[in-house]
Symmetry: C2
Subunit: 335 residues, 2 copies
Amino acid sequence: MAVTLRDVAQQAGVSIKTVSRVVNNQAEISKETRQRVLAVIDRLGYRPSKLARALVTRRTDTIGLIVCDIANPFFSEVARGVLAAVRDHGYDLFLCNSDDDPQQEINALYSLDDHNVDGVIIFPSWENRANLEAFASQHTPLVVVNRAFPPHPRIGLVLNDIRGGAQRAVEYLVGKGHRAIGMLAGRTGPRHLEEHLQGFREALLAHRLPVVGEWILTGSPDGGIGAARGYAAAQQLLTQHPQVTAALAYNDLIAMGAVKACAEMGRRVPDDFAIVGFDDIDLAGTITPPLTTVRIDKYALGQQAVTRLLEMLHSPQSDFPPIHLDVELVVRRSA
Amino acid sequence: MAVTLRDVAQQAGVSIKTVSRVVNNQAEISKETRQRVLAVIDRLGYRPSKLARALVTRRTDTIGLIVCDIANPFFSEVARGVLAAVRDHGYDLFLCNSDDDPQQEINALYSLDDHNVDGVIIFPSWENRANLEAFASQHTPLVVVNRAFPPHPRIGLVLNDIRGGAQRAVEYLVGKGHRAIGMLAGRTGPRHLEEHLQGFREALLAHRLPVVGEWILTGSPDGGIGAARGYAAAQQLLTQHPQVTAALAYNDLIAMGAVKACAEMGRRVPDDFAIVGFDDIDLAGTITPPLTTVRIDKYALGQQAVTRLLEMLHSPQSDFPPIHLDVELVVRRSA
DNA sequence: CTGAAAGCGCTTACAG
DNA sequence: CTGAAAGCGCTTACAG
């Protein structure tokens, strides 16, 4: 069926080793032989089997990406960056969805390893540290995004300044005169949320403002982190604690759900209730009102993760410091 | 490094063939041997190399998915369906982004073939039919989504009733009393758009309403099909043809951009200008006003595409009829 | 500058 | 029920 090295060798009247040499651009070969072989390759449409090559080189030129939910705009926008970077370097990408389930996350990891991916980029949803470290040690290098693990020779880190972003958002809200500020979040558990909360608390405390537990709405583990959750959480906050005048959302989806809840309850945004999102997904500036949000450069995030992973694969060195990525408050109309 | 069949065989005191038999669940083996081998496999944490297996079986248990832009919610929501289905069947997924570029689309196809994927699901952005047929004939089976190709033994088709959806949307608008209806689209060229236009025209004609060329805004090939395009197109339509009172958008992103343009130009939606979207992406019901739109069940679309591809891979039969998927008008508030 | 041999980790006939 | 041999399509030392 497919044309192989042997076919080319036969047609060109050389050994397969010689063909292999021209395919891999190795130097020790005469101009004429190379030309002749190249011509045959072209004529036959020969393409080397990455499978066969991988079996001996132990490199497949593939990497894996594991996200919580590819349909969440945050992750799909990151994926676009990953995809572009990966292609620029001649790699291909396996994609896995963990559905926010720690077990599926681990399953995906081993499933990718079965295909001998060269490395994996993962957005862990949960505190899976022990499992991830075990995997990295015994299998492929990992790049972990937005989870602050202690240094590990086979784990690269790319970290957004989530805490700083949450701080700045609250600062902004305080500057606008808000004194009763809540937080709208999804499931508890993920460390990611911890960073939001830390920044949130610190900024409040710095202004001697109250950190009220009932104003911080975290959902059940399976409650999701989408618009539906934001809608429900905002309804709850608005009815139970009408004195709260502003909220920081865990992400833009939750912020959008909150905006909807406000509309239905007759609270104008931002006049009656101010909302700051997080992530700045593509649609954040399009909706009404356009979302004031903490921007994460998702495309860059994806690219950096790939760059770091590739460095880890190709460099003998093993002490790669975490990559810190900034975050930026984008002021639009919702707050 | 990794533990191999040979390691297991040695430890269990059997031949590698025997181990292979238990791994592949073949019958001809004694209970005791199987138990013993299983124990060793477990103890050693042996996982068969899919690479090595694939080299001989010619099946990798992987399929490819090629979309225009994974950051577009339509595609990322489809991808979620694809991912779920693929996992349920023990396959893994390669993801490629074509950036709406016919050449990249083809490159992706061959790049996937280099990894010996068992098949590919593709959302072609352009009229790439000849290339796709050539690929399918010489390489792996294809499932093509939403492009009506003539029957081909190695190409499966999954088709949404785009035309019917566009018709129903226009019918609805007419029923609401609109007589001057425009269309907001992106780049010209893709056949997909042709179907929208056909349904649009037919419904208008059926009601003896004018089909005005200047009210049908199609963008340049590289103008995109996102919110920015919808915003620009709506601005143009609203200023140049203020008598138009409603529009059908090519997708929800464009509809959202149009809603924004209306807001800025002081035209209330739906009272001053009605907008119907297409796709019903996750956020369509969340924004203000919630979008009236033609719903495509994206998750099901992804699942069906996988099912069909797997059927093609496992069945000797070769006449698979196109799968037709319905579409549904979801009435919310934008029209 | 070129080639013959061995081997990557498996499975597929074929024997016993 | 179990095993020895050949081979999938490549690359890696090693000779010449």
